[in-house]
Amino acid sequence: MIDTSATLVQGTLDMLILKTLALEPLHGWGISQRIQQLSRGVFEVNPGSLFPAFRRLERAGVLECEWRTSENNRRAKYYSLTKMGRQKLRSETKEWERQVAAIARILQTAS
């Protein structure tokens, strides 16, 4: 399947992953599905960027993981937010909203 979805703005993938995990711990596939669902199909996340992002966030100390047995009795790696991850999500959301509002204002005046 070809990725027809909108390209993600640089750096937003991390935020989306954090947001998805804010509710409950999830495995890789679950995270990608959740992002797709919540964005109503606008974003389709490529595994080629998803998994390196997991490793990066894990190393940065905002994600932690554990191995659980999943529904089909297979070992799956579940990611969840650390305390630092929750802080990061809060601050990034705030920053994002500030930027979006600013861009919106610019676009309104320009028209």
Binding site: F51, P52, R55, R59
Partner: protein, 907 residues
């Protein structure tokens, strides 16, 4: 915390690599499976769904690579594999690897050795508690002092020290000390050891703890004390007592005075003088007892002490200096030497004291050797540069041989950065091995250097451990050389266009200049640098030759200097004169002794005596009186040293106390001070500080000779008869000329001295050996710069040879064609040599320019030569050109022997 998580996770990843890989596999497998299941639920068949899921993922390996590159430990792994690959390549080219490592080890070793010495004498701090608080107290003005200077650190007189001790406020503790030599033999032949006079607070101020027993303290150092306790150094304890603990309390004779050993200093404490090591320390107050009538303690113009203190908390050097300056006028007023003349006094009262940083101790070694060491460091740095250029050249040659390999690897997708990293890893490997071998070499080299500067009379001791500075220096050298010789070839090797390289046949007709320019530049700079080094080496060698053959004005060989100390006899002035005379007669009576003479100041021994001269009998004082060197001699001195008497007569046995005062002067004295060609019959008086003696009638004129130093211009010298000396010394220095073998002569002399009085202290040294030892520094400089120069030339010639052979190899086809078209051997040789001459002449031209600029740095170390000495430049140029041409003749003649058929068929 983030960093820590990252670090620990990375390290875990490194050590549990298989598990980490397995987990990654599992995670991706899980993802694929879920994706497949999802697609099957949407209605695809199992195969279809599986395929679609894989496609969506876009290559499992690529994803894995992406994950791996998100973690730092991967770079580590790549480096490791690069290094392994590099090591494998080097193993396949043992000759290349060996040559590279050897030249690097030599270059880095030489640099590190010299840096280590520089570090030891210049940068290291004293082995005491908080050395940064230690400061030296001395007079701020340089020079201008008059009197007797009897130690290497003659900063203060005893009177000054007493005042400073009482009035200073900036130091919590302050001490005075003076280096000296003690004779520890109870009687007979002298056995000198390195001694120190230390004031009571010495050890306390420095904050060192005794290894055994106790240290001297203020109670030991009371004015007018009699010989008592002595502290010995750890190495002296090991050497003389085998480290026996019962050494404490044992007796030790110092200049025939009994002392008792009270303590042993710790092993790492060598004193406060870098470059020397003390053996025995005794209180300052014992100086009068040990030195007898030569004691400086009561003399206000006797400069023999140096002082150091520990700054109080909160006091800086500036604040301490300000306080010392404030008390200076009163101190100098109170300690004004009574025997000073008005000029001396005026200058003395302008002196001000100051505090100077002394955290790395004091060292005359540092002063004398800092510039030569820096120069040597530069020279060895240049050698390393040439060695690096050679390696770069070799690497470039290999780079062009590996062009195809690089092209191929780039064609299959290797990134350029990755290839450069890999090539650099190879250089790093070479540089590291070179540096490790180099530092092993360095330690031995620097030990050798110190040993070759040390003499029996002047033993040097340099604490040569590796510290972080030496380690850092070596590491920096390794990285620097690695970049120097690795980076350009790596860039060059990977700048290939894969398409072009892979298409190109190995059978080029002529060599394109495309990849050759850099190698030529390297060779040209090598030639230029090595010419500079060669010029330096020749300058130092010629300067040494000039110094050793300098006209001293006297015979140097076959002369034994015997020092007989008869102070233990406690003779009166008359008794001394007659005992000295008797000793000399006994020496002259030894069969085989041709001549002998007594002398107060052995020429070129470093001892000096200068006084003011007042020409005429009673002319009034002038503002500026001429100064002359002095010596006191017995009859026969000039005959023994073969110094020609130009007019008048030598002293004779009638020139004794009571008879008219006479003198002999040299030509310079006659010309410059007495302003006459033949001064025989004229008179002069002598002023020593404020005391005027004479007049002396000049009875002879002798040729100029050297006095204190080989480098000096002829000095005015006045000779006075030792028998007319108002205060005869209690020891006799006798110059004995004989053709007897040395051992036979010394035992005959011992016997003769014993026949005069048994058990006198006596010591011997060879006159010629002593003069040779004065040139130790120069000789070492000449040897080392010669070694570096030779090394540089060898390296440069190897570089040139390499480039020429390479050129010949590349132009084999062309040469084959030329020969088959009728070119003869000579024209082929000319073709090849033309290249060599071109490179050589550019290199030599640059080298001459460089040498002219660089040799100025050495000008102060040269004797009798200008740094831009044309003969030296011409000689260096000729030598280098001849060697270089000879080296390139080999590949040229090989080229001319090429069989055209073979060359053309050769693929």
């Amino acid at each position: 915390m983030g960093l820590w998580t990252n670090l620990s996770a990375g390290v875990r990843g490194l050590f549990r690599k298989r598990q980490a890989e397995q987990e990654l596999d599992d995670e991706l497998g899980d993802f694929l499976e879920k994706s497949t299941a999802e697609k099957m639920r949407a209605g695809m068949s199992r195969e279809e769904a599986h395929r679609a899921a894989r496609l969506e993922m876009g290559g499992v390996e690529a994803v894995k690579e992406g994950v791996r590159s998100a973690s730092w430990e991967t770079h580590f792994e790549t480096l490791w594999s690069d290094l392994r690959f590099g090591a494998r390549l080097l193993r396949f080219n043992p000759v290349f690897a060996g040559a590279a490592i050897l030249s690097l080890a030599l270059g880095i070793g030489a640099n590190t050795a010299i840096f280590q010495l520089l570090d030891a004498v210049r940068l290291r701090t004293l082995p005491v508690k908080n050395p940064q608080e230690i400061a030296r107290v001395a007079i701020e003005q340089r020079g201008g002092r008059s009197g007797d200077f009897t130690s290497r650190y003659s900063d203060l007189t005893y009177a000054l020290w007493v005042e400073i001790h009482a009035q200073q406020q900036g130091f919590s503790n302050i001490f005075a000390w003076s280096p000296t030599q003690f004779n520890i033999a109870p009687r007979g032949e002298v056995h000198n050891v390195q001694g120190m006079w230390v004031s009571g607070e010495f050890f306390q101020t420095l904050g060192v703890e005794p290894a055994l027993g106790r240290f001297l303290n203020s109670a030991d150092d009371t004015e007018g004390c009699s010989p008592g306790g002595a502290v010995i150094s750890y190495s002296f304890w090991q050497r003389e007592f085998g480290g026996d603990r019962s050494a404490i309390g044992r007796a030790l004779t110092l200049n025939r005075r009994p002392f008792e050993i009270v303590g042993v200093a710790p092993a790492d404490f060598y004193g406060v003088e870098v470059g020397r090591k003390f053996d025995v320390a005794v209180p300052v107050c014992t100086e009068p007892a040990i030195m007898g009538e030569d004691s400086q303690m009561k003399s206000r113009s006797g400069w023999w002490l140096a002082s150091m203190g520990r700054l109080k908390p909160g006091w800086t050097l500036e604040r301490a200096t300000a306080q010392l300056q404030a008390i200076s006028p009163a101190i100098f007023e109170a300690t004004l030497p009574a025997d000073y003349n008005p000029e001396n006094s005026k200058r003395f009262l302008t002196f001000r004291l100051g505090a100077f940083s002394a955290d790395s101790g004091v060292s005359d070694l540092r002063k004398d050797n800092e510039q030569p060491l820096l120069l040597l460091l530069t020279l060895s740095g240049l050698v390393l540069l040439i060695a690096s250029a050679n390696l770069a050249n070799l690497m470039l040659a290999r780079a062009s041989a590996r062009e195809k390999e690089m092209g191929l690897r780039m064609a299959v997708g290797a990134g350029r950065g990755r290839l450069i990293r890999q090539l650099l890893a190879e250089s790093l490997l070479l540089a590291t091995i070179g540096a490790i071998l180099g530092s092993l070499l360095a330690h031995n080299l620097s030990l050798l250097l110190v040993a070759s500067l040390s003499t029996q009379n002047n033993p040097l001791f340099v604490e040569l451990g590796a510290d972080w500075r030496v380690f850092g220096f070596t590491a920096a050298l390794a990285v620097l050389t690695c970049i120097l010789f690795g980076l350009a070839p790596a860039l060059r090797a990977t700048s290939v266009n894969p398409g072009v390289v892979l298409k190109e046949s190995s059978r080029g007709t002529t060599d394109g200049h495309r990849r050759f320019g850099l190698r030529r530049i390297l060779v040209v700079s090598q030639i230029a640098l090595s010419l500079t080094l060669l010029v330096g080496a020749l300058l130092f060698a010629r300067s040494l030759a000039k110094l050793s053959s300098v006209e001293t004005g006297f015979r140097q060989t076959g002369i034994l200097v015997t020092d007989v100390d008869f102070s233990s006899l406690k003779l009166s002035n008359e008794g001394r004169a007659s005992f000295g005379h008797d000793l000399l007669s006994r020496m002259r009576a030894i069969p085989g002794v041709e001549s002998a003479a007594t002398v107060a100041t052995v020429p070129l021994s470093g001892d000096e005596e200068f006084h003011d001269i007042l020409p005429g009998i009673s002319e009034p004082l002038e503002d500026q009186n001429p100064v002359s060197a002095f010596n006191h001699i017995s009859p026969g001195f000039f005959q023994t040293l073969q110094t020609p008497l130009l007019a008048g007569r030598d002293f004779n046995d009638h020139d004794v106390a009571g008879s008219p005062l006479v003198a002999i002067v040299n030509e310079t004295m006659a010309r410059k001070i007495l302003k006459t060609g033949n001064p025989v019959g004229t008179n002069f008086r002598v002023r020593r500080l404020s005391k005027i003696s004479g007049p002396f009638e000049i009875v002879g004129l002798v040729k100029d000779t050297k006095y204190g130093d080989l480098r000096e211009e002829p000095l005015p010298i006045a000779y006075l008869p030792i028998q007319q000396s108002p205060r005869p010394e209690q020891d006799s220095q006798i110059l004995i000329h004989s053709n007897l073998p040395l051992s036979e002569l010394t035992s005959a002399v011992k016997e003769a001295v014993n026949s005069a009085h048994s058990g006198l202290d006596l010591s011997f040294f060879g006159f010629h050996t002593m003069i040779e030892e004065r040139l130790l520094g120069e000789r070492l400089m000449a040897k080392l710069s010669g070694f570096f120069g030779a090394l540089a030339v060898v390296l440069a010639v190897i570089g040139l040879y390499g480039v020429i052979s390479y050129m010949v190899a590349r132009r084999r086809n062309e040469i084959g064609i030329r020969m088959s078209l009728g070119a003869d051997r000579r024209s082929i040789i000319r073709l090849v040599l033309r290249e060599c001459v071109l490179l050589l002449s550019i290199g030599l031209a640059c080298g001459v320019a460089l040498a002219l600029v660089a040799s100025r740095a050495a000008s102060s170390l040269l004797f009798g030569l200008k740094p831009h000495d044309p003969a030296t430049l011409a000689m260096a140029t000729l030598i280098l050109a001849a060697i270089a041409l000879a080296a390139s003749y080999v590949p040229a003649s090989r080229a001319s022997k090429v069989d055209p058929v073979v060359a053309l068929r050769n693929e």
